[in-house]
Symmetry: C2
Subunit: 228 residues, 2 copies
């Protein structure tokens, strides 16, 4: 396209991804080893520049796919980071996106990026303002997990109530009463109980459930408001 708005500076636009995962009891963050200047070799969120023919959402999906091979992942904008000097090389504004990833044996990370999971309780130093991005994303995650059933995006399709509770405890860094929690969750009537148990974390085993998206959509139509 021709330039019809003269005398205005065009700017580099990037997307940086805050990739959350959940593993046993820990909320985790996937970070990569930066392979180019500046700050080469340091820990960094995975990111990339926005191309001419893609929206920011598309750019975020592309970047996520290159690292993880995953598509159709829950992903959402957090906010824009636009301080003039935030990138030491050239002015770049960056839009932070967070994504919720199921960590499991099928997840194959591209070796290219030297990616590694870190516990949110024990993050390494990150370049630029990436630490602020992570904070902002975590704040948004807390908000969202409270008011929308996105926690399930971090768990296997078949999940147990104790697992879900441990996830919320990790997100909020706060213990929850197991009786009250399971009553509240089951009362919403969004989980389908299966005739299987998961014995990976106890001898007795915990019943498996499946989040029923259709039932949730029905509830929404009736004015139901999710809240944990």
């Amino acid at each position: 396209m021709a330039r019809h708005y003269p005398h205005t500076k065009r700017i580099l636009v990037a997307v940086d991804c805050i990739l959350f995962g959940f593993d046993q009891n820990d909320l985790k963050l996937l970070v990569t080893k930066r392979s180019f200047s500046p700050e080469k070799g340091k820990w960094s969120l995975i990111g990339g520049f926005v191309e001419e023919d893609e929206s920011l959402d598309d750019a975020a999906k592309r970047i996520l796919f290159k690292l993880t091979g995953l598509r159709n992942i829950f992903m959402e904008e957090v906010k824009v980071f636009s301080e003039v000097a935030r990138d030491s090389m050239e002015r770049t504004i960056s839009v932070a996106y967070y994504a919720l990833i199921k960590i499991n044996e099928n997840l194959k990370l591209s070796a290219e990026y030297g990616a590694q999971w870190f516990s949110m309780n024990d993050l390494p130093d990150l370049i630029f303002d990436h630490r602020n991005m992570v904070e902002a994303a975590h704040t948004k995650l807390k908000w969202m997990a409270k008011h929308q059933p996105i926690g399930f995006e971090l768990l296997p399709k078949k999940l147990t109530i104790p697992q879900l509770r441990r996830l919320y405890e990790a997100i909020y860094k706060k213990e929850l009463d197991k009786r009250n929690f399971s009553r509240k969750i089951l009362a919403m009537n969004m989980l389908e109980k299966l005739n299987e148990k998961d014995k990976s974390s106890s001898k007795k085993g915990a019943y498996l459930y499946r989040f029923d998206k259709n039932r949730y959509r029905e509830l929404l139509k009736k004015g139901f408001i999710f809240e944990v």
Copy 2:
């Protein structure tokens, strides 16, 4: 700064402002008549391009100031709009900001922009994706007004409880019980009752109150959570 990230397209970055006001019973939006191509002469949100030496927050403040002469106004990012073809001239990504403005006799709008207030219930057609921006901002406003005491930004410093209730009714398009509303608001203990009445909307007159920011900050420290 030199270009250190080669082969990447730089992009025009704009800010568009969703300016909310409140007048009697109506939530209002300030829109301008666009004075340049494309779409010259049509109704548009006020906006502008981001300059080299400013953050997006700064750009939004600058644009607001040029139109209204106001500073220190509540203003917050909504989200980025980045569809490739959203601007018909040249690819532009735009970050929507919303602001809350007190409409009163001191407000002097720059004549340059042909600005006009419209009721949110009766908006004109807007250019590009500006209507979507307004929807997104309204959604965020509903969210914020419920969980933070930002409603006061739309009202005079001295306000009455019925006025505040009408504001919330306008934001949520829903009637509220006046007894329950005033009990809830006063119970929060954030309003200082004055010995004056406002008779502009009734013969009996309603007591004026002042929102006490310091008291609110104290409450926050004690773990108080605002919710309407």
